[in-house]
């Protein structure tokens, strides 16, 4: 399993929550389209999401072309949850060891 970027993680998360179409994912994640689509393509290539086309009848009823649906795979859900667990395991920082501020010297 390759490394998942934060952007890919948010996209995967959005798909797993049921956001099925590319533009809706853009809106749901707030990421730029130029980030979301490559992430989707990569997730699909790695088998974390799969895609199919919206039923033609539904689209035809509205007189528009059918949209592409993205769905999370089982492997995708597992990967997502593993990553989320790892993130949750990290506690918020209260007293950080920071570099001394320059102006104080």
């Amino acid at each position: 399993m390759k490394h998942l970027s934060v952007a890919a993680l948010s996209v995967l998360h959005a798909v797993a929550r049921g956001t099925a179409h590319g533009f809706d994912i853009i809106d749901a994640t707030g990421l730029p389209g130029g980030t979301v689509y490559p992430a989707l393509s990569r997730l699909e290539r790695d088998g974390l999401v799969s895609s199919n086309w919206e039923p033609v009848e539904a689209a035809r009823a509205e007189g528009r072309p059918p949209r592409r649906n993205y769905l999370v795979t089982r492997f995708g859900v597992k990967t997502l949850n593993d990553a989320l667990e790892r993130i949750h395991a990290m506690k918020p920082i209260r007293r950080a060891v920071t570099a001394p501020a320059r102006t104080r010297q």
């Binding site: 179409h21 389209g33 130029g34 979301v36 689509y37 490559p38 086309w53 919206e54 528009r64 592409r68």
Partner: protein, 892 residues
């Protein structure tokens, strides 16, 4: 449903854009990609139209941007570095296997790219590179012009009073400085040297925003008459005369016989006015600033106040000029005040159209080079079409084949660009060093970052230009081969495409040849123009009398009289004289007439009867071969105290007394050279022939000559006619001057022929450059004709064999080939002539004596082109005639 119909065009537009972007996507994913984006965009557009969604104003553009990024990302996934490296390796192998082709293509491109880069770098130096002063765009030159003159800045056109009033009244400028061109005799151990200098008001350096590199610049106290005279040195003079020793600051040097303290040295980049070697304080008295309205000899530079633009400054200066005109109607009234960017003032008129024509010409040459290489690549592709078909059959996509070709094009162009840049480095050095022909800033030509960027862009353009057609051909071949499964490909189509390219080459070359021909005819006409002097065998030497030692006019007159007498006494010198304001030396001293036959002229008459004023010694007319048409030359007897005398040239005589002899009449002009007074003139004792003293391009100006002994000037050129041109003449002249007074510097030692050549230096430079471009283009076109004919013969050898077998004679075969070459040449010729006719207004700016539609030139170019085409087709035609019918038929 109705709104459905209304929305369709917008969706079509989206579809078209996506179709374009889809080419980026790898073929395997293209269909899916397009469907998805089309669906999403349509869905959102509908939602917005139906009011279900509110999208920002730019959402569509942003989403299309995202579509592009997605497409590029998908393409990037298929392109791996190793694949590209492999492509490059393959291209290198392909090119290395055909060294002759590669060399020819690289050299051709080098010529095109190098030539374009040289001309661009020259234009960059003259027009665009920022002047080396802080915030140079705020620097302006203020000048005054007659109504008839142009809007351009005119140096040396401002009077002290104009300057004083502008400085007091204007608010658009941080300050205004007055500049006066000057020359000084710089005394050294080895004798005096004439240097170019400038007298400036102290604000000058602050306006240009440049402090001294060593010491200081001028301050207000320096103009005080009681102060020690001070001088600021240029970097060049400091290096040349003082070895770059900074201890020279504070030392005394002798200028014009007077000690000056060196207070500062300017940095190397500081070069204004161009060529100035020293700057001294310019003292303008209250009298100057209030009463010197008519003497226009200053140049005014200023810096715009922050927030004031050129337009506002112009408005203000025009208002001041109007106010001045109302307050005091002036004797010689400049009609308007100009404010122009400093660069325009430095570069002046006439240069921009010339350089634009040259750039256009070199761009044509560049196109010829690209077309030529395109034709070469097509020719090479001819042998490779089978290779393409096989690769396509083995599964290479069309995209990969075209990409491979494009990589080859880029490699070729890159190599051509590098070679071109090397050529450009040599070219710019040559331009900067050899022939500036009086074009300001041209000697600053060099290859810097903007020029490199230009060369890079040109190289890329070249690759696209010459690579496009062969790539299209190849891709068409591949699809055809794949569709029909046929092995044979469209060699015929390639030959046709090559023929078209060659015709284009001929057309471009014809346009260039016409331009070069016109310039050549113009130059020849200029060179043949009678200047009114006999320049052969005439030596000149200029000198300037140091003003401190020669304040007394009588001393000046004595010096010159003595010198001319000594020079004329040498046995092999036919005639000698001296003049203030040598012809062809860029000297202008124009003065309005004041009285005619004792009657004071009204204002309009004074202006209409303006004349060029010159001061000469007896012998000058004879030395330059200017004929005395009526009356007499000046004589030794015309000295101070005797009745003042005047000689006019024929134009001036006609101007003052049209239709009647001028001798015996009297004329007086207003001038500052008079002794004590400000008028000069007298009885007209002689009429001499006209001299075109600004060069062959301009008509002779009405000129009034005064006798030097009556109006002794401190700046003179000695003119010596020595038909045998003795070797020691110049040295002897220098010694003779030093013999009379060693403190008098000698400079600008030139023959009159050199002056005459210099007067046509710019037309010659333009001609030489354009001729080189045209010759290169014509050569490339000839090579193109040869190439396509040779290929034609090779491709048709079977057909020719059949013809010969069926009884065609050698002559008929040759005629057939020559005919097809002729057809090419004629079609190129027609287009090229049309192109040349379109370019008439541009080239017309460079022509003085020849009409831009000159029939002789067009005819000559037409004949030359036909001859060139036939010559280039001759060898292939001979080869066609030798085709062995049996052999060619057996070959298949």
């Amino acid at each position: 449903m109705r709104s459905d119909v209304a929305r369709r065009p917008a969706e079509d537009r989206i579809g078209r854009r996506l179709a374009l972007l889809a080419w980026i996507v790898p073929a395997a994913e293209r269909q899916t990609w397009r469907r998805e984006w089309q669906a999403e965009l349509t869905y959102y557009a509908r939602a917005q139209a139906a009011g279900r969604m509110r999208l920002g104003r730019w959402w569509l553009g942003r989403r299309l941007g995202a579509a592009f990024q997605h497409a590029a990302w998908l393409r990037g996934q298929t392109m791996r570095v190793d694949a590209i490296a492999q492509e490059v390796r393959h291209a290198v192998r392909v090119l290395a296997r055909r060294p002759a082709f590669t060399l020819a293509a690289v050299l051709t491109l080098a010529l095109g790219i190098g030539g374009t880069t040289v001309i661009f770098s020259a234009m960059h130096a003259v027009f665009w590179r920022p002047l080396p002063y802080p915030d140079p765009s705020a620097l302006v030159m203020i000048s005054t012009t007659d109504a008839a003159r142009t809007d351009r800045a005119q140096p040396n056109s401002v009077s002290p009073t104009d300057f004083g009033e502008w400085r007091a009244e204007s608010t658009s400028f941080t300050d205004i400085a007055a500049v006066r061109d000057d020359g000084y005799a710089l005394q050294g151990e080895t004798g005096a040297e004439q240097i170019t200098g400038t007298a400036v008001t102290p604000a000058f350096f602050a306006i240009l925003g440049t402090p001294a590199a060593h010491g200081r610049t001028l301050v207000a106290a320096d103009v005080d008459a009681a102060a020690v005279p001070v001088v600021v040195l240029s970097h060049a003079l400091w290096q040349r005369r003082f070895g770059g020793d900074s201890r020279v600051v504070g030392r005394l040097i002798v200028l014009d016989g007077r000690s000056h303290e060196v207070v500062g040295i300017m940095p190397r980049a500081f070069n204004f006015p161009l060529g100035s070697e020293v700057w001294t304080p310019l003292a303008l008295t209250v009298d100057d600033l209030t009463k010197q309205r008519g003497a226009h000899y200053l140049t005014a530079v200023a810096r715009l106040t922050r927030g004031v633009d050129l337009g506002r400054a112009r408005v203000e200066m025009t208002a001041i000029a109007l106010r001045q005109a109302e307050a005091a109607p002036r004797t010689s009234q400049p009609a308007r005040t100009n404010v122009s960017p400093l660069r325009d003032g430095i570069v002046g008129e006439g240069i921009a159209p010339a350089l634009r024509v040259l750039f256009g010409a070199v761009a044509l040459l560049f196109l010829v080079a690209c077309v030529n290489v395109s034709s070469l690549v097509l020719g090479m592709a001819l042998g490779r079409s089978r290779d393409f078909a096989v690769r396509a059959a083995l599964g290479a996509t069309r995209f990969r084949l075209v990409r491979g070709l494009f990589v080859e094009s880029l490699l070729l162009a890159g190599a051509g660009g590098l070679a071109g840049l090397a050529l450009a480095v040599l070219g710019t050095r040559a331009v900067a060093a050899v022939e500036t022909a009086g074009i300001p800033l041209l000697d600053e030509t060099r290859i810097d970052v903007p020029v490199m960027v230009f060369a890079l862009a040109v190289t890329f353009c070249a690759a696209c230009l010459f690579g496009a057609l062969p790539a299209m051909q190849a891709s068409r071949d591949v699809s055809r081969a794949l569709a029909s499964g046929a092995r044979s490909t469209s060699d015929r189509g390639r030959v046709r495409a090559r023929s078209t390219l060659v015709a284009i080459e001929i057309a471009l070359a014809v346009a260039l040849l016409v331009g070069a021909g016109l310039l050549a005819r113009n130059f020849l006409a200029l060179a043949r123009t009678d200047l009114g002097i006999e320049s052969r065998g005439v030596q000149t030497i200029s000198l300037s009398l140091p003003s401190a030692a020669y304040t007394d006019p009588a001393r000046r007159a004595d010096f010159v009289e003595q010198l001319v007498a000594r020079v004329a006494g040498r046995r092999d010198i036919e005639a000698a004289g001296a003049i203030f304001g040598l012809p062809l030396s860029d000297f202008s001293y124009y003065i309005s007439a004041f009285e005619r036959d004792g009657q004071r002229l009204v204002q309009e008459e004074q202006n209409r009867l303006s004349v060029n004023v010159r001061v000469v010694t007896p012998g000058y007319f004879r030395a330059l071969g200017i004929p005395i048409v009526a009356g007499r030359d000046f004589e030794i007897g015309d000295r101070r105290g005797a009745a003042p005398v005047v000689v006019l040239n024929q134009s001036a005589a006609r101007l003052f007394w049209p239709g009647q002899p001028a001798t015996g009449h009297r004329v007086v002009v207003g001038t500052r050279l008079g002794l004590g007074g400000d008028r000069a003139g007298g009885e007209i004792v002689g009429i001499v022939g006209d001299v075109r003293d600004v060069g062959p391009a301009a008509p002779a100006r009405p000129t009034l000559y005064l006798a030097h002994s009556q109006f002794p000037m401190g700046f003179l050129t000695v003119v010596v006619r020595a038909p045998h041109e003795p070797d020691d003449l110049v040295r002897w002249l220098r010694e003779t001057v030093a013999g009379v007074d060693p403190a008098v510097p000698v400079f600008r030692v030139r023959t009159m022929d050199q002056f005459a050549r210099r007067a046509v230096a710019q037309p010659r430079l333009y001609l030489v450059l354009l001729a080189v471009f045209a010759a290169a283009a014509a050569t490339l076109a000839a090579v193109g004709i040869y190439g396509v004919m040779a290929q034609n013969v090779a491709a048709r050898s079977r057909e020719i064999g059949i013809r010969v077998a069926l009884g065609a004679t050698r002559r008929e075969v040759v005629a057939m080939i020559i005919r097809s070459a002729g057809k090419l040449a004629v079609s190129g010729l027609v287009v090229g002539m049309a192109l040349a006719l379109l370019g008439r207004p541009a080239i017309g700016r460079l022509l003085v004596l020849v009409d831009p539609g000159d029939g002789v030139t067009y005819l000559a170019v037409g004949l030359a082109t036909l001859a060139l085409a036939l010559g280039a087709a001759w060898l292939p035609a001979r080869r066609a005639a030798k085709v062995d019918p049996v052999g060619s038929l057996r070959a298949e």
